[in-house]
């Protein structure tokens, strides 16, 4: 039996856009996370930042940059591609696989900070944890995100959060970065005006 036809959408809702973080805010937030990482890791000793593509990668590089400016320590930076570990591979057309690059010293026994732009369901982080255990055995794993928008579907939380944004499920958080999109901004789409 077919579903009853949906009620005609009464007044068409205006799609709304709200800027949550502007360029200056993004850079302040990155600075703060860098400080927090230094604080919680005793000066970032034996620490490796692994960015999750796409926007986690430039974020990890920026954090490493800031950390070495603040404390004059070099932290390892890498890329962790999680495509082959996703739990929704079969729900989409085949996804292209990207490179995984680990810093020269590897990750065995290191403190890993996973870096991503938005923390939402937690499924990406779950996939990243699986991917991580296949490339080595870190001493511990932490998570840094620019934005936490809630609605977790797995028991996962971030150690470093740039900005908590309470959202409705229907809303959309979009992070843009200079390296990937030409400008630094965090926007919320579809929210109430």
């Amino acid at each position: 039996m077919a579903y009853p036809p949906a009620a005609p959408a009464s007044p068409p809702r205006q799609p709304s856009v709200k800027v949550i973080l502007a360029a200056a805010d993004v850079s302040r937030v990155v600075d703060r996370i860098a400080h927090q990482i230094l604080e919680k890791t005793q000066g970032a000793a034996d620490t490796v930042l692994l960015g999750i593509p796409t926007r986690g990668v430039p974020l990890a590089k920026r954090l490493a940059d800031r950390i070495s400016t603040f404390e004059d320590v070099a932290v390892g930076v890498g890329v962790l591609d999680i495509t082959l570990y996703r739990d929704d591979l079969r729900r989409h057309a085949t996804r292209a696989v990207g490179p995984t690059q680990l810093p020269a010293g590897g990750i065995d026994g290191k403190r890993i900070v996973l870096v991503d732009d938005v923390l939402f369901s937690g499924r990406t982080v779950r996939a990243a944890l699986d991917a991580l255990s296949d490339v080595g055995r870190p001493a511990c794993v932490q998570l840094a995100v620019l934005v936490d928008r809630g609605h977790r579907q797995l028991p996962i939380r971030a150690d470093y959060v740039g900005k908590n944004i309470p959202t409705a499920l229907a809303e959309n958080v979009k992070v843009t970065l200079v390296e990937t999109d030409g400008s630094d901004e965090v926007r919320l789409y579809g929210g109430q005006l």
């Binding site: 082959l84 570990y85 989409h92 057309a93 990207g98 490179p99 995984t100 490339v135």
Partner: protein, 308 residues
């Protein structure tokens, strides 16, 4: 993405590049402690081999297992085929068992194409008669790209028994798609000029190996298929080795950067001298290692998504 891989001509330049790029990422798995990816968990790959093969079957098996697929090996010997079961009935049996992909090698040219109409899953041609062997062409292209850095503009000489070689056919199709220039070299009896020109317009043909060697980036030696040599395509094995075998003096005629390839198994001393096969220019062992990465890429791209 395509559903089956039956011919070197099935893939356009973009798809071929995607397969090679994916293979590059798959190759990094071979260097890891845990040589396994979960991408094809719960999928079933059947290796349906009607002809003897070691490297291709093992290569496909390793590739499927590294992607966590379940692998069922089926060889014609000691199976219901020996009792007279037809290819179609075997296919329907595999279908009923829920095979997501069938990797097939068959002595009859075109058998994988027939099979593709009978089963719901993907069909990968692992060599059919004297027709095609597309994953070999892909791994050859991958090897050239990783050694020489590019494919477009390369000049590749394919030397030997082109007439019976499925490797040559698939390579001609794929390499011309990717912008390389191919010259076929061999005795006139073993080069089907009409077919070659129909496959790839602009293909070169030469009967003089020494004249071609100084101008190539890659020389790909084909195996002399002794099992198909009952019809006197050339006067004697010695004469063939003298005129078309790659020995040390001939290797010296190659440009500095050129590489020597062979799909294997080799007849050492016949089409290729042992010193050449073991020289640093030879990529023969590399080709085998690359075969697993390329087949992983193919299986992932055919089975990884919901594009069935």
């Amino acid at each position: 993405m395509i559903r089956h891989l039956l011919s070197g001509g099935d893939v356009d330049a973009d798809t071929a590049t995607l397969i090679l790029d994916t293979a590059t990422e798959m190759a990094t798995v071979a260097g890891r402690e845990v040589k396994k990816l979960p991408a094809l968990r719960g999928r079933t790959v059947v290796n349906l081999f009607y002809e003897d093969s070691t490297r291709t079957r093992i290569s496909f098996e390793a590739a499927a297992k590294r992607l966590s697929a379940d692998v069922i090996n089926f060889s014609a010997k000691g199976s219901s085929v020996a009792k007279g079961e037809s290819l179609k009935d075997t296919a329907l049996t595999l279908q009923a068992m829920g095979a997501d992909a069938v990797v097939v090698r068959h002595p009859a040219s075109g058998a994988p194409h027939r099979l593709a109409n009978w089963v719901d899953g993907s069909v990968v041609n692992a060599g059919d008669g004297t027709h095609e062997h597309p994953t070999q062409a892909l791994l050859d292209a991958y090897t050239m790209r990783s050694r020489l850095g590019r494919l477009a503009g390369l000049h590749v000489a394919v030397v030997g028994d082109v007439l019976h070689s499925r490797v040559a056919r698939s390579n001609v199709l794929l390499l011309s798609t990717l912008g390389a220039k191919v010259t076929l070299v061999g005795p006139p009896t073993l080069i089907p000029v009409d077919i070659a020109q129909a496959l790839a317009p602009g293909i070169g043909v030469s009967y003089d190996l020494d004249a071609v060697l100084p101008n190539v980036d890659v020389v790909m030696m084909l195996r002399v298929q002794r099992e198909r040599m009952n019809d006197s395509y050339f006067p004697s094995a010695r004469e063939y080795a003298r005129r078309y075998g790659l020995d040390v003096p001939r290797m010296r005629r190659l440009p500095e950067h050129a590489i020597v390839m062979h799909p294997g198994p080799m007849n050492r001393g016949m089409e290729i001298a042992p010193e050449v096969a073991d020289s640093p220019r030879s990529t023969i062992v590399e080709q085998v290692a690359n075969g697993v990465s390329v087949r992983m890429a193919v299986l992932y791209l055919l089975l990884g998504g919901n594009n069935l």
